[in-house]
Symmetry: C2
């Protein structure tokens, strides 16, 4: 509830990290739709003395196209404020000299333009949606099973997300499928990987206890942030389900109806 522990920490906060899909907007046909009050809530945070970053596991578009979509919806967001898994994966591939076989959504392919993809020695799986055909999953499987040391990167590990026409299976489901098929464990890039949250904190120059994550995904947003020492608040929008509030292992520091309510509570605690 919004009236329990977490507002107490609002006074000492120096930064807020927002999940995007399910917090700012619901995806779906076209650009999707902004969640009521969220455009104004982002404006209020930007006008405050808090640092603000956006952290998404969105892997269906390049960061540029994704941010352009949010701008069309009315959000005041720039590319440099947004952290997403594909650029992080690219950095890891280059650092380790790996050549990926990509099982991703067509829209995110340009993020990987600069990496050699011939004779692949690893697989990168993202939220490929309709590209998760039997044939494509089988092709990724054959690449992995043919490697002496198969390496699988997963851009997130979400179970499902909500679009305007209903729940959709997310990348984690296909990560688990390939893990089982090849008897291996994927390396997750994106939330809830601690490395991913750490890169956002570093960018803000903050310690974990100085930052609050607000998301609709209890495990990947809230639990992931808490695992790093951040506070985590869940919104009752997006993929939120009432059973989240009785989850056996993850308990949010607070649960609020939506982003607008979260921001109002934070700013009123800080005397705005």
């Amino acid at each position: 509830m919004a009236d329990t522990v977490w507002p107490g920490c609002a006074k000492s906060l120096k930064g807020v990290v927002l999940d995007m899909c399910g917090v700012l907007y619901d995806s779906g046909e076209g650009d999707g739709v902004a969640i009521p009050g969220s455009i104004e809530a982002v404006k209020k945070l930007k006008a405050s003395d808090l640092q603000l970053r956006f952290c998404t596991n969105e892997t269906q578009a390049t960061r540029e196209k994704f941010v352009a979509k949010l701008q069309r919806l009315g959000f005041d967001i720039s590319v440099s404020e947004v952290f997403s898994p594909a650029p992080a994966a690219l950095a890891v591939l280059k650092e380790r000299g790996l050549r990926p076989h990509l099982l991703v959504y067509d829209g995110v392919l340009p993020e990987f333009d600069s990496v050699d993809k011939t004779n692949p020695n690893c697989v990168v799986v993202g939220d490929a949606a309709e590209n998760f055909s039997y044939q494509n999953l089988n092709e990724a499987f054959r690449v992995l099973i043919g490697l002496e040391k198969p390496v699988l990167f997963s851009l997130g590990q979400g179970r499902y997300y909500k679009e305007t026409d209903g729940l959709k299976l997310d990348v984690g489901v296909y990560m688990k499928a390939l893990e089982y098929a090849c008897d291996l464990q994927a390396e997750v890039i994106g939330k809830p990987s601690p490395m991913f949250f750490q890169s956002v904190l570093s960018d803000m120059g903050l310690q974990p206890h100085e930052a609050l994550m607000i998301g609709d995904d209890l495990v990947n947003d809230v639990g992931g942030a808490q695992h790093c020492g951040m506070k985590g608040v869940q919104v009752r929008t997006g993929k939120y389900r009432p059973s989240d509030e009785r989850h056996p292992t993850v308990a949010a520091d607070g649960t609020v109806d939506n982003l607008a309510q979260a921001v109002d509570v934070i700013l009123s605690q800080r005397g705005h």
Copy 2:
């Protein structure tokens, strides 16, 4: 190796259970191809004093069509000798009054003609191959996530099988995908479920120690049979991989080049 422990048990055997795909034949275009020596090996077993049953996790066709295919390839097999998951699942559904949403191969649909499928309260997943589209998997997921007590039946839990044009993902991979998506555990019908092996033993009227399973799948054929107290021998055909002989948890009672060699060893031990 064929010269270790298991031939010693051949003298006391009363029955042999054969896996089909990868032991009798390799599937692929059309009917697939018989594995050299296997048609003759089945003949030899039928001419012996051993009981013989066939046990498959094949779920792409009705048992009738599947057996007809084997007969066309030259095998002396009848429907009553073959155990497969779909009829077993049908029995469970009827016993528990469940109405399935089916995510299976078109060819096996007739097995479920007699069960009510309106307003489904469980999901049955089989080796649906090309039917494992994103849309179809998402549809099965939505049925499960919408149930108060989601029930998922999986017709087998194999990771992959071999067709003439390469390895193909099997039903277990999609079972794991749905298990993760819905945070549940599937009920497996078919190998390696002990209930499934037990039904074959009952049909032969034999105790587990009197029967030997021969298969190409170390975990589901060999391990499953051993778990029931049967002996399990692996053939180096079908999905066999050399690393199977160094598996951390399952060790076959014997490993032979193919079914023909297995049958020759058994029958020579028995003084035929």
